[in-house]
Structure formats: structure tokens, C-alpha cells
């Protein structure tokens, strides 16, 4: 049997061989991950790199690097509050307790209950870049603080997304604007149900698209969209504000409407969020 060469070569590795081996390894990895067996590697990487990310972000924060983000958020919040105020004033002015108003109270009550739920506060410590074509962020709270997969993540203004995966110290959140995100939604005033999808925009706050299940009832501009909620609040609890209908483009020919929703949350300036850990379904 031929003995393997142990003589130390001056140029021990041929670059092309190395390239070929590594490319094959990468393709093999992709194949393995496509079949859904790649999560152990992610868990290991998250366990090691997650705390580093938290640390790097903590080092950064004293320099006040998100001043702009905060100011933007305050301005948005101000605008949202003014709109809300005007809407509520209009509501008070209108007479009679109709079904629409009842539904709105219902949504508000559900949200109040949701606000009283057991939550874990967390900070966004890392953001996926647009080069990866996804909208995901890392939080500095993990299973050690009760965060599990498929929990709802709330921002100060509304729904942020859901937890994709969690390790002991960190969790990965899929944002609403990601192309892969779908949330069951209720059009605020009415009882209309629909699906809110992310448009996959890679920067800024992004826009959401609402598919209304009942083709007859098309929402109006300015309507508030809240989450529908799933069984046991997994992955989304009910009654959380998502956004406001910004534009409705109706096409009479195929009797559909394209509804664009502006989210309440500014996804380009996420910082403090809360994860709902003790989810009870409302009503």
C-alpha cells in the first residue's frame, strides 16, 4: 500500500484544488441547509457571536449614534399621534354607537390587554445588511429570559415581527417588511380580515401589502390595521396596531384591490422592543 507523502512541500497546496474543494463544500452546505438540517451550526454561531454583537453594540451606544433615529421616531410618533387625535375627535363628533365603533373599542381593549401582558424588554444589537436581501435583526435577550421561537415582538409604535430562533443569550427576529413575512390582519374599524405581507424593501421603513380576504369590502385610505392573532398567540397576538392604509389601487377588471399599508414602526430605526412571553389570547 502506498504511503502518503509527508514531505513538506514548499508550495503544499495548489490554489485551484483548494478552490474546488471549498466550492464543493459550500454547495454541500447549501444543500444541507435547504433540507433544513443547518440549525445546529446557527445555534453554535449564535452562542459564540451573539454576546460579541451585544457587547459591540453596547460599546457603540454611549456615543449616541442613533440620535437621528430617535429624532425620526419622535417626529413619526408626533405625526401618528396627531392623526390619531384627529381621528378620535371625528369619532367623538359622530353620533350613535355603531358596530364600527364597537369594533374599534374592541381592538383598543384587546391591545390594552396585550399591553398588560408579560413582556421582556430587549434591544436590537445587530441588523442584517441589504446585501443578504433579508430584513432580520438580533435581540440581546434569549431563552435565558424566556424568549422562544414564534413569539410576538412589539415596538413602541406597534408590531415589529416575530422571533425566528432563539439561543440562550440572543434571538433573531423576522421583521414585518421582510419578503417572507405574512401576518393575519384585521382592518381596524371593520371586521374585515386580510393578510399583511412585507414588500421586501431592503432599506428604510418599507411598506406592507394587504390582501383582503373578502373581495367586496375594500378598506379606505387612513384605516388602521391591527393584527388578527393566531391560536394561543403564536406567532402573533391579537389587536396589535400594524399600520395605516396609505393607498388603495382598485382594478375593476379582475375585481381586486392593491392595498398599501404604511407601518407604524420605523424599521430602519429599531432599538428598544419587547417580546411577549406570556401570551394569552384576547376575548
Amino acid at each position: 500500500m502506498a504511503r502518503t507523502r509527508t514531505r513538506p512541500d514548499p508550495e503544499p497546496r495548489r490554489p485551484r484544488t483548494v478552490l474546488l474543494v471549498l466550492l464543493l463544500a459550500a454547495v454541500a452546505l447549501i444543500t444541507v441547509d435547504l433540507s433544513g438540517a443547518g440549525s445546529p451550526a446557527r445555534t453554535v454561531a449564535s452562542t459564540v457571536l451573539g454576546p460579541l454583537e451585544s457587547g459591540a453594540n453596547r460599546l457603540l451606544s454611549p456615543f449616541g449614534v442613533d440620535t437621528f433615529a430617535t429624532r425620526d421616531r419622535l417626529r413619526d410618533e408626533n405625526a401618528a399621534l396627531e392623526e390619531e387625535n384627529a381621528r378620535l375627535r371625528g369619532l367623538v363628533a359622530s353620533s350613535g354607537v355603531d358596530r364600527k365603533r364597537l369594533a374599534e373599542y374592541d381592538a383598543l381593549a384587546q391591545y390594552a390587554q396585550a399591553a398588560g401582558l408579560e413582556t421582556v424588554d430587549a434591544h436590537v444589537v445587530a441588523v442584517g445588511s441589504a446585501q443578504s436581501f433579508r430584513r432580520t435583526v438580533t435581540l440581546d435577550a434569549g431563552t435565558a429570559r424566556g424568549v422562544r421561537q414564534d413569539m410576538t415582538v412589539l415596538g413602541p409604535d406597534g408590531l415589529v415581527g416575530r422571533v425566528l430562533s432563539a439561543t440562550r443569550t440572543n434571538a433573531v427576529v423576522l421583521l414585518l417588511v421582510d419578503a417572507d413575512s405574512v401576518v393575519g390582519a384585521r382592518v381596524g374599524g371593520d371586521h374585515e380580515l386580510g393578510m399583511v405581507r412585507g414588500d421586501g424593501s431592503l432599506s428604510g421603513s418599507g411598506r406592507l401589502t394587504l390582501d383582503v380576504l373578502d373581495r367586496e369590502a375594500v378598506p379606505k385610505e387612513g384605516d388602521t390595521i391591527v393584527s388578527w392573532g393566531s391560536r394561543d398567540g403564536v406567532p402573533y397576538i391579537a389587536g396589535v396596531p400594524i399600520g395605516r392604509v396609505e393607498k388603495v389601487v382598485e382594478s375593476p377588471r379582475d375585481e381586486t384591490a392593491e392595498v398599501t399599508v404604511a407601518p407604524f414602526v420605523d424599521f430602519s430605526a429599531l432599538d428598544a422592543v419587547s417580546v411577549v412571553v406570556g401570551a394569552r389570547t384576547g376575548s
Partner: protein, 171 residues
């Protein structure tokens, strides 16, 4: 590559991943952030040759694939950056390094790397990868990477040279 050098490159890659996802991406409002890992891989390729560049690219890409906020397939960045490290390593190293050749190499590598990632996403039908958005992302990323490369490539070269001076240092 000696053990010391390999350890240094490994540490650089880990630091690059952390800086990229936790420091630069939250700071940049465009969503597209400088690819720190890609630039470090190019620097390693330029200084240490094609084989070491490819290995550094594979390791750096794997880190980027598995590091927390990522939700794309494992191996996508590994594939793209392996090619990037190899290509950067094939650039003629006999000549004296200049900032211009560094910039051109980084630009070409950034274009190839981000395009390869996007193409693998398109080929595998991954969500979020739309042909319409790819070109803008790749162009912006290339510009960012060239600017970052002007600082990072000389720094990595100096670090590697300090750790293990190459025999032929006289010009």
C-alpha cells in the same frame, strides 16, 4: 500560512463579522452596509495568495452565514467569498502594492462577491431577492467597499507583515 498568521486572520474575520452586523449596518440608513468581511478576505487574498484567500473567504463567509441575524441559506456567503478570496489572490503580487490597484481589486471583488450571493439567491428562489433590486444593492455595496478597502487593505497588509515579514521586503 503559519499558525500565528492563521489565528490572526481568524480573529480579524470574527471581528469583521461583528463590526459589520452590529456597528455598521445599524448606522447606515440605506440598508446596504460596507461588507467588512469581504474586504478583509480581499486583503488576505492580496497578501497571502489564492489558496489562503480562498480558505479565508470560506471561513469568513461561513461566519457571516451563521452569525445571528442571518436567515439566508448556510453556504451562500461561503460560496461567494471563496471565489472572491481566490480571485484577489490571483492578482499579481510581484509589483509594489499601490492604493489604486487595491481599490480596483476591492471594487471588482465586491461586485463579484455581492453578485454571486444575489445570483445564488435567485437560483435557489430565496425570498427577498428580486432581480429589480439586485443591481442597486450591488452598485451601492461596491462603492462602500472601495471606500472601506482603502483603509482596511493597508491595515491588514501591515498586520500580516508585522507578524511574519516576507523574505523579500526590499524594493
Amino acid at each position: 500560512m503559519s499558525v500565528g498568521r492563521a489565528a490572526l486572520v481568524g480573529a480579524l474575520l470574527v471581528a469583521a463579522v461583528v463590526v459589520q452586523v452590529s456597528v455598521l449596518t445599524p448606522l447606515v440608513p440605506t440598508g446596504v452596509a460596507p461588507d467588512v468581511v469581504l474586504v478583509v478576505v480581499v486583503a488576505v487574498g492580496l497578501c497571502a495568495g489564492a489558496a489562503d484567500g480562498a480558505v479565508a473567504g470560506f471561513v469568513g463567509g461561513l461566519l457571516l452565514d451563521a452569525a445571528p441575524p442571518s436567515d439566508h441559506l448556510l453556504g451562500q456567503w461561503a460560496l461567494a467569498l471563496t471565489v472572491v478570496g481566490f480571485l484577489a489572490g490571483t492578482v499579481d503580487r510581484g509589483s509594489r502594492p499601490s492604493w489604486f490597484s487595491d481599490a480596483v481589486t476591492v471594487a471588482a471583488s465586491a461586485f463579484v462577491g455581492t453578485s454571486l450571493f444575489a445570483l445564488s439567491g435567485l437560483a435557489l428562489d430565496q425570498p427577498g431577492v428580486a432581480a429589480s433590486s439586485v443591481l442597486g444593492v450591488v452598485a451601492l455595496a461596491t462603492v462602500y467597499d472601495v471606500v472601506l478597502g482603502l483603509a482596511v487593505v493597508p491595515a491588514v497588509r501591515a498586520l500580516l507583515a508585522r507578524l511574519e515579514p516576507t523574505p523579500r521586503v526590499r524594493w
